[in-house]
């Protein structure tokens, strides 16, 4: 295994019970994702992309398989998944998922608050991250409803970076944005991977994103196949 590999998923299976019966959302999926790279999974809606992302982010538990993150299997019973999520993962969602009652600054401070970082340090880091994401000062105290989609997503990326995780999991990060804004967000994510040595794992049905990806997979009916770029 290369030193760059940070996610190593092997033979992962995940099924859901629905009225009609059992659905194999992820079917014997194995893949790796490297530090400092953008890894993209493309596929149609309902193909299991988001489920795979949530399994890696420990929001869903697979029936079988193993997922090693930085050499440690997160499916081991001894793993503290909340801590794992807090320290290793940053989520970016299609619908931003910012807390509507909090300001942009407070949303970015929230993960740090949960991690027990001092308030003044939270504020300093959150301001710095928002500045890096190009969020204007006047928006620091704005609530998500007062900001545009692009601004919301920048705040969401800043929040994902709050605890300096190794992995950024992005679920359709441009799905709710216009083309120009979406392109800016993708640029931010790819620069995070390359300049900050993060592993960005992105799922999307927008194949144009493949252009900025280092590795790419195609997912159909829960099965994954690598795309040669």
């Amino acid at each position: 295994m290369s030193e760059q590999v940070i996610i190593n998923a092997t033979d992962v299976n995940k099924t859901f019970q629905v009225k009609a019966g059992e659905v194999n959302a992820i079917n014997s999926v194995s893949f790796t994702a490297n530090r400092g790279e953008v890894t993209t999974i493309v596929g149609p809606s309902g193909s299991g992309k988001t489920t795979l992302l949530y399994v890696v982010g420990s929001l869903e538990k697979p029936e079988s398989g193993s997922i090693e993150v930085a050499g440690r299997d997160i499916l081991d019973s001894g793993t503290n998944l909340v801590r794992y999520r807090r320290e290793n993962i940053g989520f970016v969602f299609q619908f931003f998922n910012l807390v509507p009652t909090l300001t942009a600054l407070e949303n970015v401070m929230l993960p740090m608050d949960l991690a027990g970082i001092r308030p003044d340090e939270q504020r300093r880091r959150a301001t710095e991250l928002l500045d890096r994401m190009g969020v204007k000062d006047r928006l620091l105290k704005a609530k998500p409803t007062k900001m545009s989609g692009g601004e919301n997503q920048r705040v969401a990326i800043a929040r994902a970076l709050a605890n300096d995780p190794d992995i950024i999991l992005a679920d359709e990060p441009t799905g709710n944005l216009d083309t120009a804004t979406g392109s800016t967000v993708i640029d931010i994510l790819s620069s995070l991977a390359r300049e900050n040595d993060k592993c960005v794992l992105m799922v999307t049905h927008d194949e144009s994103i493949l252009a900025v990806s280092d590795r790419a997979f195609h997912m159909v009916d829960g099965q994954l196949s690598e795309i040669i770029l």
């Binding site: 909340v82 619908f95 998922n97 027990g116």
Partner: protein, 519 residues
Amino acid sequence: MRVFQRGFRSFRRNLVRNLIVVVLLFVCLTFSMSMLAVKLAADSQVQTIKQTVGNYAEIKISSAYQMKQFEAERTKTAAERSAEARSLTTAQEQADRVASLVPEKLTDAFAKDQYVKTYDKVLSTSVTLSDITNTNIQQLFQIRENNGQSAGGAGGGGGLGTGGMTSNSFFFSGNTNGASASDFTTGAKKLIKGRYFTYADYTNSNPVVMIEKNLASQNSLKIGDTIEATVSGVSGVGSTMELKIIGIYKTVESESQSKSSSSSSSSQADFNPAGSTFYAPLSVVQKLNNTAGYVTLGSYYFDSVDNTAAIKAAYKKDATGTTSKYQLSTDLSDYSSIADPLLKARNTSVIGLSGALGACALIILLAMVIIISNRTRELGILKAIGSTDRQVISQFAVEILCVCMVAIILAMGATALIGQSMGNWLLPKTTTKTTTQSSSSTPGGAPGGMMGNQNQLYKEGSSFTTSSSTQKAVKLNVVYRGTLFLYGILILVGISLVGMAIPVFWIIRLRPARVLSME
């Protein structure tokens, strides 16, 4: 600390939503706290009443027995009565003398009951004092003479005796300690000079007395002077006893009545007749009455009205075979007339309190269902970005606590304003009869003719005084007390815990992956 800050911030950020819940809770909690205040006030007042009313009992001759004796006497002609009196032996005379009295053996035995807290014995009788004149009786005789009546015919309601009443007859009340005589404990009489006779005076049979101030003044008697009393039924040596005056009292009721009379009628402005009652140690009065070992009544305070049934059962056991002659009377009916309206208000308030608390619980539950379902995404986000269930639950707990705290603080304030009105509203509109003692003791009641006031208890003044009754409305004083504050905290914790049930259940079951995928 951070959890508190986060929860409090969350409370502020969802202010409008939370304030709606606060208002709803405030209404219900105000009602709950008011009901609680009424309940606590009623409980407290009933407890206070229990300390003074309902825990008194006395053993005395039964009304039925007295009525029987009275009827037997009534059927006799005057000639039969005087023939009977002439033919009495000394033993029969003594038996007659104690016929209307209670043996001390019985009162002493009952005093040993576990529920009895304090005990006194009383003997009231008329005594002849050769050196001084009873101006009240003198005036009475004068009126009768003027009306052409014979002095011997008096009797009945007022308690005037028939046997040998003269203008030198005075009413003697004996008990074991002057200070604990009911006239002094009820405030009807007040010592103004000298001292009370003590328990030691009683045990040593010290010949000492307390005299009324006007009587003392009319007869130029002062502390340290002696008066000669005639011992009933004894002739020759030992037929008199020298009594030393150790205390002078005034009749408070008499003065206040005199004052109220003066405002309506100037001609009666200074009317305050000399009191004809002497207070002396029981053993001395027994000697003067020649009835050693007998008393008019045994007077008891027991621990609580709640033990009335037990104390009556204990009396029945002690008085086996004599229950038709003697009776144990309690002031249970006085207690009931005062406490029943309060207890009714208390019971109603308990029902109201239960209903209002139930409504509070329902409100907070429904409010939390609505709030939580509106904030499901926020919960999902918190869990997704690394918040533990405990952190999220704590944040909600603090938020709910803030909501409930604001509501209960406002409710406590409102309770202070409307508690009394609520109490007045719940209290049944009833009045209670309060018996008060009249102006002065009437002489010569016992043992000759004390039929008039059998149902009146000694502690209300005296068994041998006339009484006046007033109707007083029962009042419930709803005051803000510390206990209410403590109960308020308990309610706060209870309502908060109920409110937490929904979020705890929701947060633990929540799967962020489901929530975050939703648009």
